[in-house]
Symmetry: C2
DNA sequence: CATAGTTCCGAACTATGTCAGGCAAAGACG
DNA sequence: CGTCTTTGCCTGACATAGTTCGGAACTATG
């Protein structure tokens, strides 16, 4: 219990690199075997070690899912931020921007179904993101909300509708026509539909109205 | 295997009853423990026998999921058929009928998240419905498509859009606000949005479509 | 009761997540 | 250089999972 230094750089860097390698291997495996098909022994094997050794990097399998969850949301943020850099300024061509945004979202989901499942559907048996990872998710989602606001989608109800429609398209595409574009091709139509609806409907949520719903979670 | 005589009454009836009991227990367990939390030992215990004995009724755990899948779709058919009996005749109050239909659908999904996951999201590791069960699903979905047609939703694209939106609402509700109604309350809005869009967009996919759906206003 | 068929169980095999020690290489320090 | 501590990985083992096998107990029917 001696005072440790604040500069364990060497060791810590190696550790971080190893952990990153493990996560990378985990993504590979999960894409091959499905989200629930990940096994510690396979993962160890792919990472060049035994399953038990993984526990010096992650305290449990759930912790690995958790790290993947956070990483996935960071990728999401990066991905979504990419398309909105230039045309941001102000609503010049809102529809075009909305279409681009929507396509980017659906593309993100469809391009990696397993990641979609992990991030947007709660599907792993006992897994629930840790507060830290959940915070990352919240953060990213707020960023996306801001993007929607720039497009002209404002108010909780409209935002929720937007995400529901896009998630629905993605989820149907993934579940029922993986590799095709039966639902993906509807994105343009969906955007028009949503924009029309957004314009026609008065300001939705009463602003201060009950918006605290995000906190109900339990199950077990 | 079965499928020989048409009068194995006694034994087969008992068998069927036992199998039904097992399925019922499986639903219970799955609602308590989650879809992937089902274990043969628990299921056996709940059904009054040992895990190994289950294998005289179902050849594998996947077969149990498969039976649940088919059963779930039959429930779905029943559930959806219920609300559309009377007001069918002809498009008297299409919007009201559409709203009712949509609510029924979302209610079905939300009222049993595990079933929703099994039927509409492909989420179990190696599970894929057997051809027989898949046929049931197709059948039911066709019935629902017919219902949509009565409401005025015709053409592959419109139908796909409809299912995507409703599935999106349900899936968001289940994943992010279980027990609440943050997305469920948007159903009415969604229906209006979809109906408006349906009316505005020209006939989409092929489909015979004798009497055209509506007049196309323009757009596009 | 006898016989055939059906239902069930105990034991066991394999695969999984995870814990407890152990041992050797790497780093710190004289 | 030779220690001593830390770090990184491994072997062994346990509990629980799905599943198989062989035999016991039941049921149906003569």
């Amino acid at each position: 219990m001696s005072g440790k230094d604040a500069t364990p750089s060497r060791v810590e860097a190696r550790r971080a690199a190893a952990a990153a390698g493990i996560l990378e291997a985990a993504w590979e495996l999960v894409r091959e075997q499905g989200l629930a098909g990940l096994t510690m022994r396979d993962l160890g094997s792919r990472s060049g070690m035994k399953a038990q050794s993984l526990y010096s990097y992650f305290p449990s399998k759930h912790a690995i899912y958790d790290a993947m969850f956070a990483q996935g949301y960071r990728e999401f943020a990066e991905w979504m931020a990419f398309g909105s850099e230039q045309a941001s300024s102000d609503g010049r061509a809102p529809r075009a921007e909305a279409v681009r945004n929507a396509h980017r979202y659906v593309e993100f989901c469809v391009s990696d179904p397993v990641r979609f499942q992990l991030l947007f559907l709660r599907t792993i048996p006992g897994f629930e993101p840790s507060p830290a990872s959940y915070a990352v998710a919240i953060d990213v989602l707020e960023q996306v909300t801001a993007q929607l606001a720039e497009i002209g989608v404002r108010g909780a109800k409209h935002v929720d509708m937007w995400t529901a429609v896009m998630t629905g398209l993605a989820s149907q595409q993934i579940a029922n026509d993986l590799g095709g574009n039966r639902w993906a091709r509807l994105v343009d139509d969906a955007v028009d539909m949503l924009l029309a609806h957004t314009g026609r409907t008065p300001t939705p949520g009463r602003t201060s109205a009950g918006r605290s719903t995000t906190r109900s979670r339990s199950t077990r």
